[in-house]
Amino acid sequence: MLSILLVDDDREFTDVASHIIDFLGHTVSVAGNLAEANEWLEHNHFDHILLDFMLPDGSGIHLMDRVQHLFPVPKVTFITGHPSVKSVIAELCGPKVDYLIKPIQRECLERLFNPVKQKAKKSSATKTNLHFNCLIGESEPMQALYTMIERVAASSANVMLMGESGVGKELVASAIHYASQASGDLVATNCGGLSKELISSELFGHEKGAFTGAVAQKIGVFERAKGGTLFLDEVTEMPLDMQPHLLRVLETKKLVRVGGTKEIAVDCRVVSATNRTLQNIAEQHILREDIYFRLAVFPIEIPPLRERAADIPLLAKAFLNQLNEDSGTSYQLTSTQLQRLASFDWPGNVRELRHTIHRAHIMSDPAKKEVELPASFASPFSIAQKEHTGLAAGKTIDEVEKELIYLTLKKVSGNKAMAADMLGVSVKTLYNRLSAYGGLGEFS
């Protein structure tokens, strides 16, 4: 049995709500305005406060200041008639605050007061909050991404996903598919992995006997994605001379199977992905302009992991939880380990992070509780990029100079004349610098 304070200025509503809450087996006190609510709070303890957003003598939010200082802090549920107030309340929403929107249903009230269900809900929430059933991350760039996914899912526009390798383009594609609640399937194909000869048949299908080896009819991915989403990964790796075919299908929304004559209607959203930058696509003529505009009606840039470092601990824990679940282990990440993970810049993005966690999970000592992270995260793929990111605030000019000189020497395999030329100094100066650093080192 809970003790509940109901604050609302609608007398009839409070009457009937008290009846219902009474039926549900809880005690209820009613206040018609903030002053009365304050009076109740003065001398009584409540487990739960149901609070109207707009009261005759002020907003329900004013009561929050006071409620936060009570001990123990009661759970607060705002009641509001405005769905728009949702966002305001969402900001206030600690774990102890949520909201109901009028008209209220009994199930909502029951759920509110049923601590068992509440707990179950909480534990699943702390597990990992999955956005669109597949995306993890609460950082600002991800929130912006979620908004975009939501908006574009409501339309039927073709989407082009851009982002570095390993940021999770395929996951974003399935998020869009999920959010669009399409009746059809999500069908994925990799344009980079298809030979020129096979790409038409993969995309559009072929009729039996269309070419040597076409022993049976084949339905292409465009047809298989009917009513759903077609994900074209590495679309920029598609041979240039194939692109007019694709363009025609996108423009006419009709296709003809290879070796066929019948026109078949195309009904799917095309989500394409590339890890090239827009500039790169345009400058190197990788995609024809007309096809770019067909595919990228709504371009989405997926942020690299280093731009959402706040999500790294969340992701790392989620990956580890998954591995633990799969192999029946219960390794944990310590907060120092999480910090180490969060301070690395992950040039291979989420894929690299997951690989690192996987490796650490395998390496871990079964006798210990925590996973064993490698001494260094640098993978062979990240070293090349690391060398260019030597600049950082807090380094002295001397340090940067030294780094630059050694880097240049390495690039020209220790040829000092060439290095001096590249650095814009005389060979003598270069030697002076090197000896100041304590000798030529590996370049002597």
Partner: protein, 69 residues
């Protein structure tokens, strides 16, 4: 209705939601009474209140269309 400002409209909509919310809660109460074989007089009182709220709701909608009336 065109000269109604967004704020006024929001307020009116809020006012209309009020009787709707009452109706919804009274209906829930009736459901509880019937499910638990409680004395019917509570349900009858709730039904009367629902009917009244429907009238209120209708009146508010009328006001929205003809603010001058």
């Amino acid at each position: 209705m065109a000269d109604l400002t967004a704020a006024e409209l929001a307020k009116q909509v809020h006012d209309i939601r009020k009787p709707l919310n009452r109706i919804s809660m009274q209906a829930e109460l009736i459901k509880l009474v019937l499910e638990n074989n409680l004395p019917p007089d509570k349900a009858i009182a709730a039904i009367d209140k629902i009917l009244q709220s429907c009238q209120d709701c209708s009146q508010l909608l009328e006001n929205l269309l003809n603010p001058s009336a």
